[in-house]
C-alpha cells in the first residue's frame, strides 16, 4: 500500500475530492497547512505599515491506497488541482507498511 499526499490550493478541494471519488477512491483525510515555496506569500498593510505573511494557506490531502491505484490517483489529483499558477502544490508518495481499520480491526487493503 501507499500513502499519496497532496498539497493543494484550498479552493480546489471540492474538485479534487470529486476526481478521486470518480475513480472510486472514497476515503481521504485533509489538513489545513500553510506553505512556502516559489509562491512567496503576500503582504498586508495596516495603518500604513507593511506586514509580510510568508506562508500561504494550503490544504494537505492524504489518501492511503493499494499500490495499483497510485498512478490513477496522482493523475486525478493533478488534473483536478491544477490552476496553472505558481502555488498549485505538490504530490508526494510514501510506502505504507500497514493499515488497520479501528472499527473492525480489518488490516491491509481491506482497511482502506
Amino acid at each position: 500500500m501507499k500513502l499519496v499526499t497532496a498539497i493543494i490550493q484550498p479552493h480546489r478541494l471540492d474538485s479534487v475530492r470529486q476526481a478521486l471519488t470518480d475513480i472510486g477512491i472514497n476515503g481521504l483525510t485533509i489538513t489545513e497547512v500553510r506553505g512556502y515555496g516559489r509562491q512567496k506569500g503576500h503582504t498586508e498593510i495596516y495603518r500604513g505599515a507593511e506586514y509580510t505573511i510568508s506562508f500561504t494557506p494550503k490544504l494537505k490531502i492524504e489518501v492511503a491506497l493499494a499500490d495499483d491505484r497510485v498512478d490513477d490517483a496522482i493523475s486525478a489529483i493533478t488534473q483536478a488541482a491544477r490552476t496553472g499558477k505558481v502555488g498549485d502544490g505538490k504530490i508526494f508518495v510514501f510506502e505504507l507498511l500497514a493499515a488497520q481499520r479501528v472499527r473492525t480491526g480489518e488490516t491491509g487493503d481491506d482497511a482502506l
Binding site: 498593510i45 495603518r47 500604513g48 506586514y51 505573511i53
Partner: protein
C-alpha cells in the same frame, strides 16, 4: 435645582461613556494585537477602569472639581465625604452624584487610552502603578485647569469634551511611555498584523456610538447644545472615515477596514474639543483634516520617530485632539450652527495654543517621572520569553481561543 430631563440625558450619557471603555476600547485595542495578547489587553482595560473609578471616588474628583484654586482642587470631596443624595452640581441642573459619575467615566477612559502604547510587552503591575499615579498626577490637575476653574479655564481656553484634557494628555504620555519601555522585540519588521480586524471594527463602532454620550453629554444638559454637538460629532467621524479610506485607496488600491475605522476614531478625537462650537459644515471639514493629518502622524511616529507606540495613541488621539483644539476658533466660523468663542479668533487661538503646549509639556515631564518610578519599583517589561509566549498565558494564565476539541 434638579432638571429631570437634563438628568435623564446625563444618566444615559454616562452609560454611553462607560461603554466606550468596557468593552469598546477593549475590542478596538484587543483586535489590533496578536491573538496571544488579546486577553491581556482586556484585563488591562478592566483593571484600569475599576482602579481609576475607586481612585476617582477617593481623590480624583475632589482634586479636579472641588474648590477653585488655579492649580489643583482641594480635599473637601475626598471619598465623596460631602456628597448628599440631592446636592446639585453648581452651574448645572443635575445631581452632583450624576456629575461625579459622568466625570468618572472620563477619568476611566483617559488612562485606558494609553494602554495602546505599551501593549504586548508591559508588566501588569506597571500598568496599574503607572495608571494610578498618572490619574492623580496628570489627569486630575489638567482636568482642574481646564474644566475645574483652574488657570486655563480662567484664561478662557475652550475644550468642550476633552481634546486637551483627554486626548492631548493621553497621546503625549503614550509616546513617552512607549519610548521609555522600548519597542516590542519584533519591532518594526517582525510585528504581526492585527489578529482580528473584525473586532477592531466592532470596538470602533461602539466607540462611535459611545462618543455621542462623551461629546453631547458634555453639554451637561438636554437641548440644542447637546443636539448640535452630537450632529457635529457624527459628521466629523463620517468625513474622517471617508478621508482615511480615500488615502488608502489611492495609495495602495485597497481601502482597508482597519484603516477606515482608524479614520473614524481620528475624526471623533479631533471634533471632541470643538463639538461645542462646530456647526455641521465645520465638523465635516474638521473631519477631513483629521483623516489626512492623523494618517500622516501615525506614519511619522512609526517610521520617522521609530517609537513603538503600538496602537498609535499619539498619532490618532494626541494629534487629533491637539488639532481640534487649535482649529476650533476657525471651525466655529464655518457655515451655520456654529457656537460662540470666549474671545475673538486671534486671542482665542493664542489661548488654545498655550493650553496645548503647556498641557503637552506637563504631561510629558510628569509621565516621564512616573514611568521611571514604575521602572524602579516594579519594572516595566516582561522578559523576552514571556513576551514571545504572549501575556495572556504568561501574565494572566489564560488562553484567548480554545476552539479546538
Amino acid at each position: 435645582m434638579i432638571n429631570a430631563a437634563d438628568t435623564a440625558w446625563m444618566l444615559t450619557s454616562t452609560a454611553l461613556v462607560l461603554l466606550m471603555t468596557l468593552p469598546a476600547l477593549g475590542l478596538f485595542y484587543g483586535g489590533l494585537v496578536q491573538a496571544k495578547n488579546i486577553l491581556s489587553v482586556l484585563v488591562q482595560c478592566t483593571a484600569v477602569a475599576a482602579m481609576c473609578s475607586i481612585l476617582w471616588f477617593a481623590f480624583g474628583y475632589s482634586l479636579s472639581y472641588s474648590g477653585d484654586g488655579d492649580w489643583l482642587g482641594d480635599g473637601a470631596a475626598f471619598f465623596l465625604g460631602n456628597l448628599a443624595r440631592d446636592t446639585v452640581r453648581p452651574g448645572t441642573h443635575i445631581p452632583e452624584s450624576v456629575y461625579v459619575m459622568f466625570q468618572m467615566t472620563f477619568a476611566v477612559i483617559t488612562p485606558a487610552l494609553i494602554i495602546g502604547a505599551y501593549v504586548e510587552r508591559i508588566r501588569f503591575a506597571a500598568v496599574l502603578l503607572i495608571s494610578a499615579l498618572w490619574l492623580l498626577i496628570v489627569y486630575a490637575p489638567v482636568a482642574h485647569w481646564v474644566w475645574g476653574g483652574g488657570w486655563l479655564a480662567k484664561m478662557g481656553v475652550m475644550d468642550f469634551a476633552g481634546g486637551i484634557v483627554v486626548h492631548v494628555t493621553a497621546g503625549v504620555s503614550a509616546l513617552v511611555i512607549a519610548w521609555m519601555i522600548a519597542p516590542r522585540h519584533e519591532f518594526p519588521h517582525g510585528i504581526r498584523p492585527p489578529h482580528a480586524p473584525w473586532m477592531v471594527m466592532v470596538g470602533a463602532s461602539l466607540l462611535w456610538v459611545g462618543w455621542f454620550g462623551f461629546n453631547a453629554g458634555s453639554a451637561v444638559s438636554s437641548g440644542a447644545d447637546a443636539g448640535m454637538a452630537m450632529l457635529a460629532t457624527h459628521l466629523s467621524a463620517a468625513s474622517a472615515t471617508l478621508a482615511w479610506m480615500a488615502i488608502e485607496w489611492i495609495k495602495f488600491g485597497k481601502p482597508s477596514l482597519v484603516g477606515a475605522v482608524t479614520g473614524t476614531i481620528a475624526g471623533l478625537a479631533t471634533i471632541t474639543p470643538a463639538a461645542g462650537v462646530a456647526g455641521p459644515l465645520g465638523a465635516v471639514l474638521l473631519g477631513v483634516a483629521a483623516g489626512c493629518v492623523c494618517y500622516v502622524a501615525v506614519w511619522a511616529v512609526k517610521r520617522v520617530m521609530r517609537v513603538d507606540d503600538a496602537l498609535d495613541v499619539l498619532g490618532v488621539h494626541g494629534v487629533g485632539g491637539a488639532m481640534g483644539t487649535m482649529l476650533l476658533p476657525f471651525v466655529s466660523l464655518a457655515g451655520a450652527g456654529g457656537g460662540h468663542l470666549n474671545h475673538a479668533v486671534g486671542p482665542q487661538l493664542q489661548a488654545q495654543a498655550i493650553a496645548v503646549l503647556a498641557v503637552a509639556l506637563f504631561s510629558a515631564i510628569a509621565t516621564f517621572v512616573i514611568t521611571k518610578l514604575a521602572d524602579r519599583l516594579v519594572g516595566l517589561r516582561v522578559n523576552l520569553e514571556h513576551e514571545t509566549q504572549g501575556l495572556d498565558f504568561a501574565t494572566h494564565g489564560e488562553t484567548g481561543y480554545h476552539v479546538n476539541r
